[in-house]
């Protein structure tokens, strides 16, 4: 969706402000939010694409002013209620009132953290040949789905060059909708900045995205 999360190329957000000796969390609740998201994912309540989709569907005016972990927290409220895992009035009262639903996997235990602390694999056994090879000229499609996609707006409808074939990976646009983890070929596609931003762009700049095959056509 063309949401406020898709920030590449926007102006007006001011300078980057690095923070010396930044802590892992700025408040205890931030750590709880991060950990709850990991634990719920480990139990199979949602996958990474569904979680991103839920954050992207937060109201734009909230999302642009909320902090990172505030967005995570609010999205998880929507996810647990939307999936029927928790009733809205339970969140309001702060206590469980109804029985739990069965999740696909058992709850994460402290002595079995490894599965969540090491990233899983998003590669799948290839079911078809890749359509493109390194060096091929391609063009990104002009798509504007109202659902989740990983093709950023700034990189749509532009010619680029396939630099790497990264493998056959779970396709987020379908996975976010709960349509399973059917995969597509994934490529690193590189663009000249002058193609993305016009003749005044930095001539020494190249930008690449990780593009799934359905985002691409032959140039």
């Amino acid at each position: 969706m063309n949401g406020i999360h898709d920030l590449g190329g926007m102006d007006g957000f001011g300078p980057v402000e690095p923070e010396p000796d930044e802590p892992a969390f700025h408040a205890a609740w931030e750590g709880r939010v991060m950990a709850i998201n990991r634990a719920m994912g480990a139990a199979g309540a949602w996958n990474i694409d569904m979680a991103r989709d839920a954050r992207e569907r937060l109201p734009a005016a909230f999302a642009i002013t909320a902090s990172y972990y505030q967005r995570w927290e609010r999205a998880m409220e929507n996810q647990v209620v939307g999936a029927g895992l928790v009733a809205a009035d339970e969140l309001a009262s702060g206590h469980a009132r109804t029985p739990a639903k069965l999740l696909p996997r058992p709850p994460l235990r402290a002595d079995k953290l490894d599965p969540v602390m090491t990233r899983g694999s998003f590669a799948r056994q290839a079911a078809k040949e890749p359509r493109f090879r390194a060096g091929d000229r391609v063009r990104t499609k002009n798509i504007n789905p109202e659902t989740h996609t990983r093709l950023p707006r700034y990189a749509r409808n532009h010619p680029g060059i396939v630099e790497r074939v990264q493998g056959y990976h779970v396709f987020p646009d379908r996975s976010a909708l709960g349509q399973g983890d059917a995969a597509e070929w994934l490529y690193t596609v590189v663009f000249d900045a002058t193609e993305l931003w016009g003749a005044d762009a930095d001539p020494t700049l190249k930008v690449s995205i990780e593009a799934f095959e359905p985002y691409l056509e032959k140039a």
Partner: protein, 208 residues
């Protein structure tokens, strides 16, 4: 809305902000229903506070600086190469190491969310997740690098990698001059987090 989150105000005599209350309610309900175990949440938080941070990435970079065969293996398949280093935590799939050279400087971003090589660098800093960096680095990277006090030669190619899938990127910075004969452990001390994102360079050996 901004006005709905009073994180710095204590309304109604409460000692907790609205966000803290919401997080507490969410965790309590999920715990009472048996979906999460608070001890597991504690352990995840603790891992990121103590074990998983940029020293992991620094050890990988230092090894690549002293061992040309490892460097090549890292650039060919970073996940596989790091798996051969016993002292670095396991790294998941699809890590891609990209090498800085005199001709090319690499910078990592995720414009759509905040994808970041957590296992190598720990949790991303706030600026990496925030709008100023994500919006501007794909269009005006030299301006962004200037915010970090980094100015590159005008002829250096800048390559920005937007992490739009589950591939993760780690910048392999150039080994600083004046470090001949340094041990791997000494070299790792020079490797800053930002030098592995591309928004900085390794620390100068003379500053050590």
């Amino acid at each position: 809305m901004a006005g709905h989150d009073h994180d710095h105000h204590h309304e109604h005599g409460s000692e907790l902000s609205e966000t803290e209350l919401r997080v507490r309610a969410l965790e309590t309900v999920l715990t009472e229903k048996g979906y999460v175990d608070p001890a597991a949440l504690d352990a995840i938080v603790e891992a990121y506070q103590t074990r998983i941070g940029p020293r992991n990435g620094a050890a990988v970079v230092a090894r690549a600086w002293v061992d040309p065969a490892f460097r090549q293996a890292l650039l060919d398949d970073a996940t596989k190469a790091i798996g051969t280093l016993g002292h670095v935590s396991a790294v998941g799939d699809h890590l891609v190491a990209v090498a800085n050279t005199l001709e090319r400087h690499n910078v990592i971003v995720c414009t759509l969310c905040s994808c970041y090589p957590w296992e190598m660098l720990g949790l991303p800093p706030v600026w990496y997740k925030a709008a100023p960096y994500r919006s501007r680095v794909v269009k005006d990277p030299r301006g962004v690098l200037a915010d970090f006090g980094l100015r590159l030669p005008e002829t250096t190619e800048i390559r920005v990698w937007d992490s739009t899938a589950e591939t993760r990127f780690l910048v392999l910075p150039m080994r600083p001059e004046g470090t001949d004969g340094w041990s791997e452990a000494e070299l790792a001390e020079l490797v800053t987090r930002d030098s592995m994102i591309g928004t900085g360079l390794p620390a100068s050996p003379s500053a050590k």
